[in-house]
Symmetry: C2
Subunit: 334 residues, 2 copies
């Protein structure tokens, strides 16, 4: 900037005025400054500008998630970006891989950079740390988690419980009485919710979920495939599966094809997957809407950034079922 001012033979203030298109600079000076800017390749330093500026915002929001390589989270990020773009904001993001330590590091790093708002998909139980952060005055929105406390924290999440009820009821309605549950580790909030939805729905229908196979844990699609094979080697296998997680759906579908029982065993999955439409039968699912979740979370954070002091928002995005065939198979006569 100094160089520009010297080259154009004007003061720093005049350069500032031209760069910011403030009115009231004579055409001659404007022209000289613009020439110097172009010649020197000058580009204002956004950080310095905002440091002194009355708009003390950084124009950046931070997004802490579990793993961007997972399409669920990358769609969330996309939803956030959609809204951020419209507001002229940029998005910093980072994956925690579910590690609390990494989560704290990321939040710290974002806060030191003075992000105007923070959207976090908490990994595990580190919510207390988050609660401390909000006291520091950074707007915070949590995604895909529930809080027992009535702490004043905004929240957006899928209705995992309701979605699981939908899926389970769908199978019960087709006559299934033995439905296995395959899902993520119970320490994951959404997994726990889905399991509860399954159990409650079973009980409402007069079925005893404690008699059914409920397999929970963090596994790859291949591991789920092996697990599903094991399920059907047992004497009294289920007639239907509720695969409450992406990889479980993939593994289970693969195993049913291996065993050539894909037309006999019903499956409803949680969350959509590629090719769900291409397999035979198509996979019936309760899809999530991660992009919309992200958009809602971003809208919320911006309303707080812009000063909204409305009551705490706890938004729960509902689900619907997409029937494609696998969920509509009736139990085989035995």
């Amino acid at each position: 900037m100094h160089d520009v001012a010297r080259r154009a033979q004007v003061s720093l203030k005049t350069v500032s005025r031209v760069v910011n298109r403030e009115p009231g600079v004579s055409p001659a000076l404007t022209h000289r400054v613009e020439e110097a800017v172009a010649a020197l390749g000058y580009r204002p330093d956004d950080r310095a500008r905002r440091l002194r500026s009355s708009a003390r915002q950084t124009g950046t929001i931070g997004f802490v998630l579990i793993d961007v390589a997972n399409p669920f989270f990358s769609s969330l990020l996309r939803g956030i970006e959609d809204v951020a773009r419209a507001k002229g904001y940029l998005v910093l993001s980072g994956s925690t891989d579910g590690a609390t330590e990494r989560e704290e590091q990321l939040i710290d790093a974002f806060l030191e950079r003075r992000v105007d708002g923070l959207i976090v998909v908490p990994s595990g139980q580190a919510v207390e740390t988050l609660l401390r952060e909000i006291d520091r005055g950074s707007p915070l929105v949590l995604v895909d988690i529930e809080l027992d406390t009535d702490a004043p924290i905004d929240l957006v999440r899928s209705d995992h419980y309701g979605g699981a009820r939908l899926a389970t009821q769908h199978l019960i309605d087709r006559g299934h009485r033995h439905i296995a549950f395959l899902g993520d580790d119970r320490s994951v909030f959404s997994a726990e919710q889905r399991l509860r939805g399954y159990e409650d729905t079973m009980r409402s229908a007069g079925l005893d979920p404690s008699l059914e196979q409920k397999i929970t844990g963090t596994h790859t699609a291949d591991e789920w495939r092996t697990i599903t094979h094991a399920i059907f080697r047992q004497p009294h296998p289920p007639t239907a599966l509720f695969t409450a997680q992406n990889f479980a759906s993939m593994g289970a579908v693969a195993a049913l094809h291996d065993l050539e029982i894909q037309h006999e065993i019903a499956v409803v999955g949680f969350d959509d997957i590629d090719l769900a439409d291409a397999v035979d039968p198509g996979l019936t699912v309760v899809p999530q809407r991660p992009r919309e979740l992200g958009q809602r979370a971003a809208e919320l954070i911006f309303s707080r950034i812009e000063g909204s002091d409305s009551d705490v928002v706890r938004e729960i995005v509902p689900h619907a079922i997409v029937a494609r065939g696998s969920g509509e198979i009736a139990p085989a006569a035995r």
Copy 2:
């Protein structure tokens, strides 16, 4: 910081020393400052710090991509993040949706924030703009594109041409002489490369690609499904498909299942997809390794940020074929 200094009854410099763990502060003062920091919830402002600091870096790199919601790009982002994390860097990212204007906006915004390096997956032909940027001294790495110019720009990309040759040769080796090509619009560099690989391999085998169906364009999986139906309504359909794009693979597989010819028509896809393993037959593919591409791009940008002035790097990541069944089907006797 001012408040901390006053509360601890020390100078700004002493606060700075304690916060940065510089040696040579008496335990008593250290204690007082730490107490004040905790009580006030003080967190240093990274921007101000770096403004004056000798390390003029921002500790941030920018990543401009087409669409994070696309797993290919989110895996790229993850690879970049892997390396950035190890270096203590944060990643700003933004989707262009292939719009040149948005691309320029993002690059501009990143540069105004003084990112230390820029990784870009160019959308379309706006490479000249990028060339201008590098003159401004920001390290730049391009991903998944080729440059005709010998401009000094580092580059990392998949070997689309070689991968397409592999896929096509695989089908020819199984006896196919009529292989249709389904791929993305030719304006996309990778799509063009894959088409060229297909054509050259056909010709090398004495086959005439101009006689085959080559369908290119940007379509959804459903549209590709419809297109594939149309292909097999024609009098002399191909015996094999090279689906050179994700959605094309999904749509084609779905259509072959619809028509119940999935065991007669061979398919090799470019890029892996969920459930590729679950369909019957499993989908033979030439997978990309986006996370590794991202890691390589990030390693390159950091070597430049750290001052490497080695020659231009143009790294081409090779492919291998993953045979799962669909690509090993012999042409049906007619």
